[in-house]
């Protein structure tokens, strides 16, 4: 029997709140009117942070040639960081005609010999899926030959979106890794972090706090992750999904199979960070742990309040307009409010119903929810007298025209804004944006212009 994931089943995720209504929109991109990434990219985002595993992309050049070394997913793995390396079979015409399995086999051998990874993930892509290479078979044989896990990932771009790709990646991990090894030790406070990729070290902003509380991160999918740890993930007492709805089917199946309960959290801004840490403690169900956690939160919030005080003075009475997508439309809004900004408008262009509700809750009745921010934001800035625009690079000109400060929130991240400490990074960046005179200077007219 084939072990390929059943795409239909994955699309039909019962634990995904928006799936009954939005199923088709998730699945069918519109030709000529789509900008998102493909399923392969989704699986890459989900799994590449395993730095002790090699990630071999079985396909032609576009898939990984344009995308390796693009994300700052940090790792504490002492060996060579394989996340920041690109491996591809680099399919050529010859392979398209005669099949690429032989090449894949020898590529795996080559990698195992030179780089001694803990596992090899093998990603099929559009062309190799189309020509019908049997990567399951090659992986199975290679696993036997080399004695380490080989994980086939069936997420060629044409099956769908990034989101579906993450689900397929989760499925591959569940099928081939989870439950294949026992942990060395166990504790009543073992958790898995699911959907946290440690981009710019986000995870390290809050994991020390969890450790201090005696909560052990048994495994992650996949920020700063280790293959050996995820193999023993079935022994965790709780799955914690961090801001990634796409992996909810994985955690649901782990609940069915191993009885692991799950919760969904976010570590963006002070309120969310505190609420999330407390939620983890409560889910672990230990009264003493909960009490300790409350103390720790009080301590951290007090310290943060002190550190933020000088910034709050600067941000006092400042108004911000936020134009970004998805859950960022409310999560950044909440972080901005924690810093003392008044968030007068946010974009709900691509937001789900749940995201819109949250945005409304955070912004209050007077807050403007923009459905077409590209056109609305300039007007909103005039109406509200906003001081700061947070948006993607395309909106820079709006800020220049309106002579207000601008911060790019869609840029590839370089600094972490996660947890309590990340909020300080955000505050520093926004202070610099507000104090930088460049937007006013650039807007100067040329002497020959009227």
């Amino acid at each position: 029997m084939t072990r390929k994931p059943k795409i239909r089943d994955l699309l039909d995720e019962s634990a995904c709140t928006h799936s009954p209504t939005k199923k088709n929109a998730c699945n069918a991109p519109t030709p000529g009117a789509t900008t998102g990434g493909c399923a392969f990219e989704g699986s890459q985002i989900s799994l590449f942070p395993y730095a002790d595993a090699a990630h071999l992309v079985h396909g032609p050049m576009t898939c990984v040639g344009a995308s390796w070394e693009t994300r700052l997913t940090h790792t504490s793995w002492a060996g060579r960081d394989l996340t920041q390396m690109g491996f591809t079979t680099g399919i050529t015409t010859n392979d398209v005609v005669f099949g690429g399995e032989e090449k894949l086999r020898s590529s795996i051998d080559y990698i195992v010999e030179r780089y001694a990874p803990e596992a090899v993930f093998v990603y099929s892509t559009c062309v190799t899926a189309m020509i019908g290479d049997d990567i399951d078979m090659v992986c199975k044989q290679a696993a036997e030959a080399h004695g380490i896990p080989m994980v086939p990932v069936h997420a060629p771009g044409f099956v769908g979106s990034k989101n579906l790709g993450s689900r397929i990646a989760g499925e591959a991990v569940l099928t081939h890794l989870v439950g294949t090894q026992e942990p060395e030790t166990s504790s009543p406070f073992d958790i898995n972090l699911i959907g946290e990729y440690n981009v710019t070290g986000d995870m390290w902003q809050y994991t020390p706090l969890l450790e201090e509380l005696g909560i052990r991160v048994l495994s992650t999918l996949s920020g700063d992750g280790r293959v050996a740890h995820i193999r023993s993930a079935h022994r965790a007492k709780l799955n914690v999904i961090v801001c990634a709805k796409s992996l909810v089917s994985l955690t649901r199946k782990m609940q069915e199979r191993y009885g692991t309960p799950f919760i969904s959290v976010s570590f963006y801004g002070k309120r969310d960070t505190s609420a999330s840490i407390l939620a983890i403690a409560e889910a672990l169900g230990d009264a003493e742990l909960v009490a300790r956690t409350k103390q720790l939160i009080t301590r951290e919030e007090t310290r943060l309040a002190q550190q933020l005080a000088p910034y709050r003075e600067i941000f006092e009475g400042k108004k911000a307009v936020l134009n970004t997508g998805g859950n960022k439309s409310w999560s950044i809004a909440s972080a901005l409010q924690d810093l003392g900004f008044e968030v007068v408008a946010t974009s709900v262009k691509k937001a789900t119903e749940a995201d819109k509700e949250k945005a409304r809750e955070y912004l209050g009745e007077a807050g403007i929810l923009m459905t077409n921010p590209g056109q609305e934001q300039a007007k909103v800035i005039d109406q509200t007298g906003a001081d700061l625009l947070l948006a993607g690079g395309r909106s820079l000109f709006t800020a220049i025209k309106k002579k207000i400060a601008f911060a790019d929130v869609n840029q590839e991240k370089k600094k972490s804004y996660g947890g309590y400490a990340g909020l300080l990074n955000l505050a520093e960046d926004l202070k610099n944006a507000l104090q930088n005179p460049v937007f006013k200077n650039v807007a100067r007219r040329a002497p020959w212009e009227k």
């Binding site: 032609p60 050049m61 344009a66 690079g393």
Partner: protein, 431 residues
């Protein structure tokens, strides 16, 4: 010339720097004014390309996808998704041209672009750009050729004061501009195809429209065949020049493998003198030639003791290799993305088609790297000097202002490399 190795000796690529043909095609279409590149394939290829180029140029990048799905991948000949994509694009914006180009997926399916193009009632140029062959450079070259074949009106009339410039893909926006200005100095009206100098540089973020703005217009392209002079730069542009000459056999053609360094610029200048009938070049050209001579002398102490690794597209390697070796640097290794006849013109001890793992294995052979931002990790690991050039260059600002061509750019380039070499030596002595 040293030894040339054209075929990689291993089954896979590790730390690849070859870039795909569809990406080169998209980039060429972006050098056309108000064009919408439409990539025919899975949506990921387009998304990766968009992010890649946005980060490289720090400019918004217009590009769309036909978003082929499992249904279209298996069942349909591609017509449906292309026609639908064109409808959806033109609902929102009015491009002057749609640049339809294929990917590995749709080439494996065998989609007939030409057939579809004839069904679409909109200005469209198509090009087959599979990504399991060639690379960035060939995708760009093939697209330029397709633009010429499908848009340029044949004629027999020629204007002796009009020139067409066909630049290879590795020339930056400012380099194209400098090259155009150089030709203008000799009295020509000049048009570049494609022209990134006006489309991907200096837009101050004002370009909110979803189309490329700047670049050569479709009208100008259709009338290119009356130019007296065709100037192709880089081996990858030879087929485009040949296609243009077919439209008007009385055009005269000057091909240059590159325009970097003293001798190559001399060659261009003397050809332009002859074509224009001028006796002497303008004073600024004379002045910059002297500055380059001076820079060659000033930098030769340092460059003469520096062994260099060059990484990039073949046409880039030929030019950068030449200007550096003219000042005494030794190119011990030139690493090319793909095979090309141009590999024979690279003044290096060893030329090979490969990946950055190969460069790592041979790290004892060089002191300084001239290459893209993926070589930065390599430079750090082995304490090599580094000068960033080529695609991608994400970690620095100002790529589009980087000019290495002709007398002027050559002078700046030699100084920059020599300074980087000294910097590297100074840092090494601390160990």
């Amino acid at each position: 010339m040293g030894e040339v190795m054209r075929k990689p000796d291993k089954p896979l690529q590790v730390n690849p720097f070859r870039l795909s043909q569809p990406m080169g095609a998209a980039l060429a279409f972006l050098g056309i004014d108000r064009c919408m590149p439409l990539m025919h394939g899975g949506m990921g290829c387009t998304s990766f390309t968009k992010v890649f180029l946005t980060r490289h140029f720090c400019e918004p990048i217009a590009i769309q996808t036909t978003a082929v799905t499992d249904v279209t991948a298996v069942l349909d000949g591609g017509d449906g998704s292309i026609v639908e994509a064109v409808q959806n694009i033109t609902k929102k914006v009015a491009p002057s041209l749609i640049g339809l180009h294929s990917t590995g997926l749709t080439e494996t399916k065998g989609d007939d672009l030409r057939g579809v193009a004839s069904q679409v009632d909109y200005p469209l140029v198509y090009v087959h750009s599979t990504d399991y062959e060639g690379g960035l450079e060939s995708g760009w070259g093939k697209t330029t050729k397709a633009l010429i074949e499908q848009l340029v009106e044949p004629t027999t009339a020629t204007r002796t004061d009009k020139a067409v410039l066909l630049p290879h893909v590795s020339l930056t926006p400012i380099e194209v501009e400098k090259l155009k200005e150089f030709v203008v100095l000799f009295g020509f009206e000049v048009h570049a195809l494609p022209d990134l100098s006006t489309s991907l540089d200096g837009h101050l973020g004002e370009k909110q429209s979803a189309l490329s703005s700047g670049g050569t217009t479709v009208e100008v392209i259709s009338e290119l065949a009356d130019a007296g002079l065709v100037l192709s730069v880089g081996d990858s542009m030879q087929p485009s020049a040949a296609a243009l000459l077919k439209k008007n056999p009385s055009m005269s053609h000057l091909h240059l493998n590159h325009v970097q360094g003293l001798s190559a610029t001399d060659e261009l200048a003397s050809a332009l003198l002859e074509a224009s009938g001028l006796e002497q070049p303008p004073p600024s050209v004379v002045r910059w030639r002297k500055r380059l001579q001076d820079a060659m002398l000033d930098s030769h102490f340092s460059l003469g003791q520096t062994r260099i690794l060059l990484v990039g597209e073949p046409d880039f390697l030929a030019g950068a290799g030449k200007v550096l070796s003219e000042a005494g640097a030794r190119i011990t290794l030139a690493l090319s993305t793909v095979d090309s006849p141009q590999l024979n013109n690279i003044p290096a001890d060893r030329v090979r088609v490969g990946d950055l793992e190969d460069a790592e294995a041979l790290q004892e052979d060089y002191d300084l790297i001239v290459g893209n931002c993926h070589t930065e990790a390599l430079a750090h690991r082995f304490h090599k000097g580094l000068v960033l050039r080529g695609y991608p260059s994400w970690e620095v600002v100002g790529n589009q202002l980087q000019n290495d061509l002709l007398y002027e750019g050559g002078a700046y380039f030699l100084c920059e490399v020599a300074n980087a070499a000294e910097h590297m030596r100074a840092a090494k002595h601390k160990f």
